[in-house]
């Protein structure tokens, strides 16, 4: 299947954009990236949102009709990604933190590339970029994913500067 290949026991996936963004579906994603990339679909993978009908409706209410949107919990997401995502090269996959990617990896699924698009300030987090604040465990999770072979870059908006993970952790 196009976009899928296996390395070191993982099913690797090349989606159009695999993004870590704690704001999930918001302006930068819908108006910024989806327009720029001409995406057809968004797959939001998050246990809390998937289990809350009100939040699901809230996020879905903001997506234009031409952007097919799925909201899945991590287990459903793993299944969906394994069984063949509908438009791999026209889909944005969204998770709110590195933890969700680690869970997907534990289920045998690893994105080839990760775009870190926004993790914002909280008390235990250190600042790396204007839109990127992480605590030690989030940094460790990203490092572990990089060691597994994920290419991780940080970029908030399509015209923004792309930083590699090594560069920002230096």
């Amino acid at each position: 299947m196009s976009g899928y290949h296996k390395t070191a026991g993982y099913l690797n996936m090349d989606v159009q954009l695999f993004r870590i963004d704690d704001r999930l579906i918001h302006g930068q994603v819908v108006l910024g990236w989806a327009k720029y990339l001409e995406s057809r679909s968004i797959v939001l993978c998050d246990d809390a949102v998937a289990d809350n009908e009100w939040e699901r409706e809230l996020y879905l209410s903001c997506v234009p009709a031409d952007l097919e949107t799925l909201i899945l919990n991590i287990e459903q997401a793993s299944e969906y990604l394994h069984n063949g995502i509908k438009y791999p090269d026209r889909t944005i996959v969204l998770v709110k933190s590195p933890g969700e990617v680690v869970l997907l990896a534990e289920m045998g699924f690893l994105p080839s590339k990760i775009n870190v698009g926004g993790i914002h300030f909280a008390e235990d987090r250190k600042r790396y970029l204007s839109y990127l604040f992480m605590n030690d465990s989030e940094v460790a999770q990203l490092k572990a994913l990089a060691e597994k072979g994920c290419r991780i870059t940080c970029q908030d908006v399509p015209t923004g500067k792309k930083h590699t993970l090594e560069e920002i952790l230096r």
């Binding site: 704690d22 579906i25 918001h26 302006g27 108006l31 009100w54 993790i119 914002h120 300030f121 204007s130």
Partner: protein
Amino acid sequence: MSDYCQTFIIAHSNLAKALLSSVEKILGKQEDTYIYSNEHDSMTVLAEKIETQIKNAKAGQIVCFTDLKGGSCWTLASMLKRKFRQMTVISGVNLPMLTTYFNNRHRMAFSELIDKTISDGCRGITKLQDI
């Protein structure tokens, strides 16, 4: 006459600050008005700041203006409304809307105030006819 009303503007970058300072240039200083940017803070941190402000307030109406419907500020306001049912969330904030709101918030009945705020916000958007 409206009840006591606490006002929030939550927007991207420096927009909330710029909107309030523009309103104050036109109408003068406004009380019980709080501005927030979604820059830097996670939504959890921002929600806590706003909730603290709401809890400190006297009981009454809460009006929350946000810029983009579907943006993170609006999503946050929608989530706050789940906790604070008396909150009114208005998206698409602009200066015509705010001047109407601040000019009338102590003069009009609340529901009338909100209707006029939104309709004046829309009415402020025009295309100048060819001269």
